[in-house]
Amino acid sequence: MWDKGRGVNMRKSIIVLIILFILTGCGKKEQKEITSVWQLDDSSYTIGYGEGHSAYYAMKEFLPNAKLHSYPDHITGFEAVKTGKIDGYAYERQLMELAMKEGLSGVHILKENIGKPIDLAVGISPVTKIPDFENKINTFIAEIRKNGIYDEMVKRWLNGDIYAEMPEIKKAENPVYHLAVGTTGEIPMFTFYKGTELEGFDIELAKRFALWLNADLEFKVYNYGSIIAAATSGDIDCIMANLNVTPERLESIRFSTTILSVENTILVKNTDNVALMSGFKDSFLKTFVRESRWRLIVNGIGITILISILSALFGTVLGFGICALRMSRNRLVNAVSLAYIRIMQGTPMVVLLMIMFYIVFAGSSISGIWVAVIGFGMNFGAYVSEMIRTGILAVDKGQMEAALALGYTKPHAFMKIVLPQAARHFLPVYQGEFISMVKMTSVVGYIAIQDLTKASDIIRSRTFEAFFPLITTAVIYFIIAWLLTRVLTMLQNRLDPRRKK
């Protein structure tokens, strides 16, 4: 026990050290002060941009010599500028200003814009079931522009004050449609979490549109990377998430008339050095306490554990089934099960998950959590079946024969004699696979599930601070893994007759 405890502490400190190392960055070069956007048009500079964001096209056109580097979201991008990993990050000016106001420090915004202002619009799924959707949304936008509601909304959300009050908007009483709106929940002013509630310009727009359309409204929250796929697969009817109109996106979805125009500019690092943490207490309050953000974390933990345990159960049952096929004497059955195992082992989990969600279950009403359970279960099952098979093969054939000779039926003998002995062989491996699956569940954000990782992303999008949410997430994953390991170890000890005594 003493040894184990020390191991735990060592692992913790190593994790903390590694994250500190990453956050502070290493091998920083001496930097000239950057004062103008045009100064960056040089191959010695690297500029970050958000995946699919319009700033990419602006830079291609106006800063053709700069090296570009894509980031999954602007929060990560801002952090990369702050720690000197990139020289600048191209994004919307308004959002940068808000981040600065919210406490982003060590960086400043350049004066010039790159390119012309770009359009924001509602992205329309090409396969939406709501008839004449494009026409309807355009009519709606025209109407609110005319009756002043639009101006009210702009004033409420886009004046740089994130703490605006969300007005009460009625729900449709006898809805004729179901409207699924995809959003990210990670862009202040437009779509963000206050506590556990979605708010912002896009959210208000969606609610008003649903009422106008006489539809019941459902929000689905995606990562930036998967939201377009969600629309093309028909998982949602439209995207309302500060969506830039870009040529690439026009190829796969349609857009409404323009709602807003925004300007892109570049965020660069200050030349004076910055402290990594700006006040422990302040950060802690911002990350957990304000707007009861800890609730997001707690909900996320619940989802992570739920998916992990259900996937493990499903995967284990499936594993037994595949193992039975794999050990069958029928060559065809054998080959099919082997093929299944190889395919599962050779497919990255994220890809499998996206295939399940956006292709296999596209358009079905099954909840994302179940899709995740099926996806992870299928993957886990492949590994489990191989483990069990190895375990069973490690049990001497004589054990089964002795049981049969005593008069046990084959299934009874398997359960009573072979399986407990096989389990002693495969449980240690099983434990390892299970823990790695728990950690793999952190990708479920791709299919609109708010697990622990997604909760921490959402919080980061509000606080513009990486340190606290990331460390907390790491520690929580570690604790979950450790607890689940304990449970499995207890089970393992119960199966080991030497320890039982």
């Binding site: 004589g398 002795a402 046990y408 039926t409 030497r498 005594k501």
Partner: protein
Amino acid sequence: MDAPETIITIRHLCKEYENVTPLSDVNAEIKKGDVIAIIGPSGCGKSTLLRCINLLEKPTGGEILIDGVAITDHKSDVPALRRKMGMVFQSFNLFNHMTVIENIMAAPVDLLHRPKEEARARGMELLRMVGLADKADSLPEMLSGGQKQRAAIARTLAMDPEIILFDEPTSALDPTMIGEVLSVIRNLARQGMTMLIVTHEMKFARDVSNRVFYMDQGIIYEEGSPEQIFEHPHRERTRQFIHHLKVMYEHIKSRDFDFMAVYGKLEEFGRKQQISQKTIINMQRVFEELVMQALIPTSDTEINLTFTAEYSEANSSVELRFRYTGVELNLIDRCDQISRKIVDSALSSYSHSYSDGMNTVICGIRGGV
């Protein structure tokens, strides 16, 4: 006294694999109280026979009746039939994840639905009987081979079987541990347990059994009382097996057979068995004089001779046997003077017999370095 009832009837039992046929046609009746030792060379199907009786191997032909019920019929309740038959394996096969007493209790509790306490009490009684009461709570891995096998026997007895099949119960044991297992089996025999014992322990087989099956060539080649099989086996192969004989065999059909080849074979056989060179030369001389000088010149073209050289390791002696058809013909009488001298110097014993048109000459070969 009534004749004891028949427990197992085996009719034309056959087991074929793709390349080998361990059992071609086995017929037997096993009566209550029988202790049958099954002996025979390795690979002759002894174990296969036992494993077919409780259907661990599926016979490919014939039938097995247990208490009149054909278990080979696919409608039969195999697990229920197996409960009446215990089996003790060469490699013990105790359940490794259970203690000794759990091993013994498991089947009575699970299959006969005996109360746990009753099963435990009975288990302890059996363990006392095999001398392992103090090991009840040990795991199999803590036991010696002999102890494991005794525990396995106790496990089998816990099901109150009508018959126990022993599949080479001592073959995996150190010589020092064989005795303890055999004495447990002897005890069971004394108590009247019906048993089929496949074994290589000849002395034990002889002591413990009331019937002996000698198996060879996929059948029960010879069956009889222990005295008969061990003292006066009727058939050649049985005799060779019982006396641990190493045998060289040659069938000669023509006067013009390859004489030198047989000569060479004898030489090779002798070397392999590490027979002295002198003895080998004597074998060759006797063969040459009796076959080439005595038999062949007196026969017409037709010749039908079976020649065997047998080497007994036990008393390192060599015997040559000549069996040939035709009229009565004592070879040694046909030898001329020189031949007779040579033969006499090489022989330690000689006998000739004739019956039903078959001559048999048995020669003991003089040894020496």
